[in-house]
């Protein structure tokens, strides 16, 4: 895990510095004098040798100090934490919507295999996979915000203004964000349930005279959930990374927009910090999923 993160840190550090684009010129604009630009570069510490800059950065990062933002002149760690108050609830909401919609739908499709219910569900999930998230977002805004006026077109007033209002501003973006993963999870659930329903012990349970409902809920689902939950866990990380586009459509002050803005203005400490942070989160989630898998499936535990 540490090796992965070290590799990621090295990669992002090199990539942002190899990219053309000088943060000092970006800050000062096209009417700046070369002396002012040089002075600003020096004050940013950008004219020191690269290995020195890297060691200084990674040394601080291990202790939780990710440097200072060039643009905002505030600690990067603080910026990330403040943006998390938007991205984390957004990701969790999208994940919740995804799970509570996809799993029942997938189970339903599996039980209606090769009948109308199955085909309708699969068409729906196909749409979810095909529609790009930002377009879905724009469509949701056009309908629910511009046309109906039920929701704001974007923005986030903060948790201080009340939990209800805050959740409301995250609802449409969460739906758009979760759409693709919802479709994928629905299909995964359907396949997992179908496979389990073909197993010998299910046939035995049916032969014993158990109702289809009992077969499903007491025997099949518990085993089907193992692969489903592990996929859902991995998708959680992907949701977090995928928020970058939707936060722009809904102008939410989240982590994704912070990263996008930082890349455009070459705010190197912020880009490095955000990438390292998101990579860490995904690594941790994947490790947790591995553990979960072992807990759920006794066969793995005893290997």
């Amino acid at each position: 895990m540490a090796a992965t993160l070290l590799f990621v840190s090295l990669l992002v550090f090199v990539v942002v510095r190899v990219l053309p684009g000088d943060p000092a010129i970006l800050m000062l604009g096209i009417d700046a004098s070369p002396e002012t630009v040089a002075r600003l570069r020096a004050s940013m510490g950008l004219d020191r040798p690269l290995p020195v800059q890297y060691v200084e950065w990674i040394g601080g990062a291990i202790r939780g100090n990710l440097g200072r933002s060039i643009q905002y002149d505030v600690p990067v760690a603080g910026l990330i934490v403040s943006r998390l108050s938007v991205t984390l609830p957004l990701t969790l909401m999208a994940a919740a919507l995804m799970v509570f919609a996809a799993i029942p739908l997938g189970v339903y499709a599996a039980t209606r295999h090769r009948r109308l219910g199955d085909y309708l569900t699969m068409t729906l999930s196909q749409l979810g996979i095909a529609v790009p998230a930002f377009w879905a977002g724009l469509l949701l805004v056009l309908l629910f915000s511009v046309r109906l006026g039920w929701f704001a077109s974007g923005g986030f007033d903060g948790w201080g203004q009340g939990v209800g209002g805050a959740l409301k501003s995250l609802l449409l973006p969460a739906i758009a964000l979760g759409l693709f993963q919802f479709a994928v999870l629905a299909r995964t659930t359907r396949s997992a349930v179908l496979e389990v329903l073909r197993e010998e012990y299910v046939k035995t349970a049916r032969a014993k005279g158990l109702s289809e409902r009992l077969v499903l809920f007491r025997h099949a689902l518990r085993n089907a959930m193992i692969p489903v939950l592990t996929v859902a866990g991995v998708q959680l990380g992907q949701l977090m990374a995928g928020s970058i586009i939707l936060e722009s459509v809904f102008y939410l002050p989240g982590l994704g927009r912070l990263a996008l803005g930082a890349i455009t203005s070459r705010d190197l400490p912020v880009v490095q910090g955000v990438v390292l942070f998101v990579a860490s989160v995904i690594v941790v989630i994947n490790a947790a999923v591995d553990v979960l898998y072992g807990l759920l499936d006794p066969r793995i535990r005893y290997e």
Binding site: D22, V141, D157
Partner: protein, 493 residues
């Protein structure tokens, strides 16, 4: 089905959660970028000027909505030679912390700007100040090292805002000034809120109680926010393509005006074939600027013939000086040794999408005279590095928004790499000319020189585009200076 019912109830509860009600006297403005700090003495970013300049902080002199220099914090000034200035400050002007503005504050601000340690973005422009003497609390005299015709204008620009010397540390997050609004709140990433300054030194102003700047970078999101009523004004970031259908919407007004943003096709004068004046003139003759305006800007904007824009008092209309004449273009190219034209790469940055659209129109026009142009879209940071800093380009398109930026053409190191000694000498002379009539004549000659030598092709002035709800009054039609002056903005009763 209790779970479904619960879900439906929850949804209903969420939908009825009330949002903040629009208060009378409140205005929500969209800006495309969050300012990197609010310190006008640390960064030249126009995103800062849009929020702070003339709203929160003010200058001794002001550029008004017609582009005229008018007295502001200095109620009058006195000079005979444009080298020694005496400013008489308005009495009873209070900073937002309650303290009265005095001459000592002016001296502090100007000396701090000139000090290299401060890293003021326009520090060089203050080096011309030799001495600042406080005559009394409301009188300050400034002596320059040499005559400078631009000095008063410099005192009106965003780098010269007057702030209390005890508030230097808060300039970045909550700047204090003398302006009609104070900074009430800054929710990072989302919005900045300004509140009315009840002690403003101009009685009866401002009209608004509260202004909220929302950062909405995507023009489609800005449009949606406008149409759903989440914002009242979109001041920057909408292009002519967005404005077309808003014009027909009875809820909105579209304000169309002039700016100081001249959009140019720059040619690399240090590189063949652009080092040859005949080639540069040929490129200019090959371009039909009317078609460019129609095709790239939906007909909005004004055609230019030199760098000086219509809002400048010395503007001379040079747009017909080098007219559209493809036959002449081909003749000039042949004379210069390119009878079959040549290949060129045009680099543009989609961050400023009008440059991409403009490029697409130009490609077909230039092809007709044999110049085969390939468009290369590069990211903004790359453009700054490769085109602006290293002059690694053939052709590029960009808008130069700064007023009075003719000085860039007198700089042989600027990315055009145009080195014309006669132009440089005449420009330097004009900087030291005190007599307005003589300066006007010099500027006329400078503009003719630019048209004759054609270091770049001046295409058009980018229009000022503001969309606001009907009922909002007082927004400037033109943009003679980088500011979103809200002093006189109000809701019609």
């Amino acid at each position: 089905m209790t779970m479904l019912r619960a879900l439906a109830l929850a949804l209903l509860a969420l939908m009825t959660a009330a949002g903040p009600a629009a208060a009378q006297g409140a205005l929500a403005v969209q800006v495309p970028a969050e300012p990197p700090g609010l310190d006008l003495t640390a960064s030249p970013a126009s995103a800062i000027a849009a929020v702070v300049h003339y709203n929160v902080q003010e200058c001794l002199v002001k550029v008004d909505k017609n582009g005229k220099l008018v007295p502001w914090l200095a109620e009058r000034w006195y000079t005979t030679d444009s080298k020694n200035y005496t400013f008489f400050l308005k009495k009873g002007v209070r900073f937002h912390n309650g303290r009265e503005m005095k001459a000592a504050d002016v001296k502090f601000v100007l000396e701090r700007a000139a000090n290299p340690e401060t890293k003021h973005p326009f520090q060089k422009r203050y080096e011309i100040i030799r001495d600042i003497i406080i005559k009394d609390d409301y009188t300050v005299s400034v002596t320059l090292k040499e005559v400078n015709a631009n000095f008063l204008l410099e005192m009106a620009r965003q780098g010269s805002v007057i702030y209390p010397r005890e508030a230097v540390d808060t300039l970045k997050s909550a700047p204090l000034g003398t302006g009609p609004f104070t900074v009430a709140d800054w929710v990072r990433g989302d919005r900045i809120v300004l509140a009315k300054n009840k002690d403003y030194h101009v009685k009866g102003l401002p009209h608004l109680d509260k202004v909220t700047f929302r950062f909405i970078p995507d023009p489609n999101s800005a449009l949606a926010a406008l149409k759903s009523g989440d914002i009242d004004v979109s001041a920057f970031g909408l292009g002519p393509e967005n404005v077309v259908d808003l014009k027909r919407d009875p809820r909105f007004q579209v304000i169309l005006g002039d700016t100081t943003n001249d959009v140019i096709l720059a040619m690399n004068n240090s590189k063949k074939p652009y080092s040859d004046k005949r080639v540069r003139l040929a490129v200019t003759h090959a371009i039909n600027k009317e078609e460019v305006l129609k095709g790239a800007m939906f007909g909005l904007g004004r055609i230019l013939g030199s760098n000086v824009d219509p809002l400048n008092p010395y503007f001379v209309d040079m747009s017909k000086a080098v007219p559209y004449d493809p036959a002449k273009a081909r003749k000039l190219l042949a004379e210069a040794g390119y009878p079959n034209g040549f290949d060129a790469v045009l680099r543009v940055s989609p961050q400023y999408y009008y440059t991409v659209r403009t490029g697409e129109v130009l490609v077909s026009q230039l092809a007709k005279v044999g110049i085969k142009v390939k468009i290369e879209q590069i990211e903004w940071g790359q453009w700054l590095s490769q085109v602006w800093k290293e002059a690694n380009y053939d052709l590029t398109i960009i808008g130069h928004a700064e007023p009075w930026d003719i000085v860039n053409y007198a700089n042989p190191g600027y990315y055009f790499r145009w080195d014309n000694k006669e132009f440089q000498a005449l420009y330097r002379e004009s900087e030291q000319t005190v007599d307005d009539k003589k300066r006007r004549e010099q500027f006329a000659r400078l503009q003719k020189m630019m048209a004759d030598e054609a270091p770049v092709v001046w295409l058009y002035m980018h229009p000022r585009l503001v969309v606001a709800k009907k009922g909002v009054t007082g927004i400037w039609k033109d943009l003679p200076i980088s500011s979103l002056d809200l002093t006189e903005v109000a809701w019609q009763k």
